[in-house]
């Protein structure tokens, strides 16, 4: 009855089933997590992701209710559907976590990120950078004769696109805030 096919002398067996059981369709989800703003809460959330091997593409946090000491953490993560469900359930287990919302699954939502771009250049390049910034509706927040700092708000894709365009025009440095997101509509 046993079909082990273990030969005497073999050693390629493990104490664990080494086959991964997860499917391979990876989805990207944006999660909004409301937490009690107590010491260590961010470490708990980040520790959960690193400890259980989940991905963090972006994470932002700030207190949104000063009287109630509540913060909102927006996390962009990716994983198979099974992993995404686990991530939400595991977040829900953290004691100071009050609510977990999957903005990707719960209907339409808006996502915004802010990027700051330092672009250094002269002559034609400088004119081109300014022209493109205008098309993207980026603001100039600092200028010298050799450089600009642009400020741009938009979806992460828009920020990526702008960075790609600026690279050949003398992009020196980028700072990004990570994603903030809200569901659309009145709920």
């Amino acid at each position: 009855m046993s079909a082990l096919r273990i030969k005497k002398g073999s050693s390629s067996h493990s104490a664990y089933d080494l086959r991964s059981t997860y499917g391979d369709t990876v989805e990207r989800h944006t999660l909004a997590v409301t937490v009690m703003n107590e010491p260590g809460v961010l470490a708990r959330v980040i520790g959960l992701f690193s400890g259980r091997g989940y991905n963090i593409e972006s994470l932002t946090v700030a207190e949104v209710d000063h009287e109630g000491h509540k913060s909102r953490i927006t996390i962009v993560t990716s994983g198979t559907p099974q992993v995404i469900v686990q991530i939400k359930a595991q977040l829900g287990r953290i004691v100071p976590v009050l609510e977990v919302h999957d903005l990707t699954a719960e209907g339409p939502s808006v996502e915004r990120e802010l990027g700051l771009f330092k672009v250094a250049g002269k002559g034609e390049q400088r004119v081109e950078a300014l022209r493109l910034a205008d098309i993207f509706r980026a603001n100039v927040v600092d200028t010298t004769l050799q450089s600009f700092v642009f400020e741009l708000t938009g979806t992460p894709e828009k920020i990526d696109a702008f960075a790609d365009l600026m690279r050949p025009l003398g992009l020196v440095e980028v700072a990004r805030t990570g994603v903030a997101a809200l569901s659309r509509g009145d709920h």
Partner: protein, 580 residues
């Protein structure tokens, strides 16, 4: 009434208000104010262990055998780091404990002060929750919250780190009832889910209850309701290592433990069932084996208080989130109100099949007149202690699995073992915790010699507190479980799996002032066990057993349930054949 007191006094006051009578601990500079308060009262007994890891395991044993929250107290730095294994053990096995650690004064935190460690940082991933209390005014409220969190929902260990200046400072004590926690896990299961489950139960021809530690966690009412449900429906029941005793081993619906070293009939029934009802178990990999071949023909239902347990490992058709006792009560109500329907004919056939599997007699082993077989030792222990007010703890390894197979548990909270983490060194201190809670009971730690050595310093604790714990060591002079894997899966290359230079256990017992018994002849075994039971004090029982016995059945990892390895296959293997 406003009550001002020091932080140290608050700790003791809050423990009293929480109904704590026993704590396990070890002092040091950063907890001296608390020890000073403990000295000046008599309601709470402090048990001085010999290593902080043992304090945590003792608190676990106390908690598991009483259903109450276990409590431990350790100092900063090395005291706290020594507690980490115990905390992780309690987290994996869902054991409610509250651990207090001392910390350097708040104004010295971060300066690499003497015996400073980032205790909340280190223990964050191995506690259900933890706190660093920097303000005495917050301390008593935090302690009450800690007991609430440790014991509600899915239970687990929590830790409160208290800097020394916070222990000295004075503030107002807040009563237990004062604040309502936002942490309120759902205990009632959804009624739609329960209705759906009852419909599945009515139609099932091959059902099985697969129960686990969650039934024990839920309390005695859950075990009572489980028994009622099993008897009323006539469905077979198996349990994980952690759930033994929730349903009595003498019950005729009992199939025995399932899993890697579970019984043939239990694993075959899991594989072939058409309805699997998981009650408070977590589809551990020691249970599922190869996930994609796990019980391929069944509808699966999972009742669990922790939403993250559902669909974590095995995709289920129906998940019911709630506390076992609450959900079982509703299942019984609904099932009865719909006319107590079961598929009688299908069930009868299912039992016929199960009884065929039972005939394999998967626990059979080759007896011996010359050496004590470990299975035989446990059979005799069972026979001679059955019916007594008995609690069993274990270490980790083959002896643990044999204990699960050969000892029968009639009630919950009588079986304390390290399942999830598999911590060698758990059993001895756990037996101390159990004996502290049940002073007149017979408490036996079924041990392997290697595991037992990991916390043997606790002989001192057992002697000091006159705890008549029986250390029943199945001594095979091997790291038996490791040796078994090496024999079967690593070409018989026994790399470092010998227990070399073992002590003379009888002399060791005597060195502590305890009683030592050695037994190597099967003919002497009964008398020796009786001598152990009758002795009023701690005993080390050195039971010299067969050195190369393997534990069967065994499902090698990554194999489905119906590819279990039995003793007969192994005998063929030993004589040189390939196992197919």
């Amino acid at each position: 009434m406003s009550r001002q007191m020091t932080g140290a006094k608050m700790v003791v006051q809050a423990l009293k208000d929480q109904g704590v009578d026993t704590i396990f601990g070890y002092p040091g500079g950063a907890v001296l104010p608390i020890y000073d308060e403990i000295f000046q009262q008599s309601e709470i007994t402090h048990v001085l262990v010999r290593h902080e890891q043992a304090a945590i395991h003792a608190a676990e044993g106390y908690a598991r055998s009483t259903g109450k929250v276990g409590v431990a107290l350790v100092t900063s730095g090395p005291g706290a780091t020594n507690a980490v294994t115990g905390l992780t053990d309690a987290l994996m096995d869902s054991i409610p404990i509250v651990v207090f650690s001392g910390q350097v004064p708040t104004f010295m935190i971060g300066s690499d002060a003497f015996q400073e460690a980032d205790t909340v940082g280190i223990t964050r991933p191995c506690t259900k929750h933890n706190w660093l209390v920097k303000d005495t005014a917050q301390l008593s409220g935090t302690i009450h919250e800690a007991f609430h969190i440790a014991s509600s929902g899915r239970p687990g260990p929590v830790l409160i780190d208290i800097p020394k200046d916070v222990q000295f400072a004075t503030a107002e004590y807040s009563e237990k009832t004062k604040r309502k926690s936002h942490y309120q896990p759902q205990v009632k299961g959804s009624i739609e889910g329960i209705n759906d489950l009852v419909k599945l139960m009515e139609k099932s021809k091959r059902p099985i209850f697969y129960t686990g530690g969650g039934v024990i966690n839920s309390g005695p009412a859950a075990s009572q309701l489980l028994r009622e449900l099993v008897e009323a429906t006539g469905f077979p029941i198996t349990s994980t290592l952690m759930g033994l005793g929730a349903y009595p081993a003498s019950g005729d619906k009992w199939l025995g433990m399932l899993g890697m070293h579970g019984l043939y009939e239990a694993n075959m029934a899991m594989h072939d069932c058409d309805l699997m009802i998981n009650i408070g178990a977590r589809f551990d990999d020691r249970i599922t084996g190869r996930v994609d071949a796990f019980s391929p023909k069944s509808k699966k239902v999972h009742i669990d208080i922790d939403p993250s347990s559902i669909n974590k490992v095995i995709h289920v058709d129906l998940g019911i989130i709630g506390d076992v006792a609450h959900v079982l009560e509703d299942i019984l109500k609904v099932w009865k109100s719909r006319g107590r329907v079961t598929e009688k004919e299908g069930l009868a056939k299912w039992w016929t099949q199960i009884n065929e599997w039972r005939k394999i007699d998967c626990l059979a082993y080759t007896g011996s007149e010359k050496t004590i077989k470990p299975q035989y030792a446990l059979q005799r222990l069972e026979e001679l202690t059955k019916g007594m007010d008995r609690y069993i703890t274990t270490e980790v390894g083959q002896h643990q699995m044999w204990a699960a197979q050969f000892l029968g548990f009639e009630d919950p909270n009588r079986w304390m073992t390290s399942g999830g983490l598999g911590t060698m060194g758990y059993g001895f201190p756990a037996s101390i915790g159990v004996q502290m809670a049940h002073r007149d009971a017979l408490v036996i730690n079924v041990a392997g010699e290697a595991s037992w050595l990991m916390n043997m310093q606790e002989m001192g604790t057992a002697m000091q507190y006159r705890l008549p714990v029986k250390q029943f060591i199945l001594n095979n002079e091997r790291l038996g479980m490791v040796r078994q894997w090496q024999e079967l899966l690593h070409g018989e290359r026994y790399s470092s799996s010998w227990s070399e230079s073992l002590p003379d256990f009888v002399k060791l017992a005597e060195a502590f002032g305890a009683k030592g018994i050695i037994c190597k002849d099967p003919a002497d075994l009964d008398d020796a066990i009786m001598e152990m039971i009758k002795h009023d004090g701690p005993v080390i029982f050195d039971c010299l057993v067969e050195k190369h016995e393997n534990c069967f059945p065994m499902i090698p990892s990554g194999k489905p349930h119906n590819e279990m390895l039995l003793a007969a296959d192994a005998a063929a293997f030993a004589s040189g054949a390939t196992l197919v």
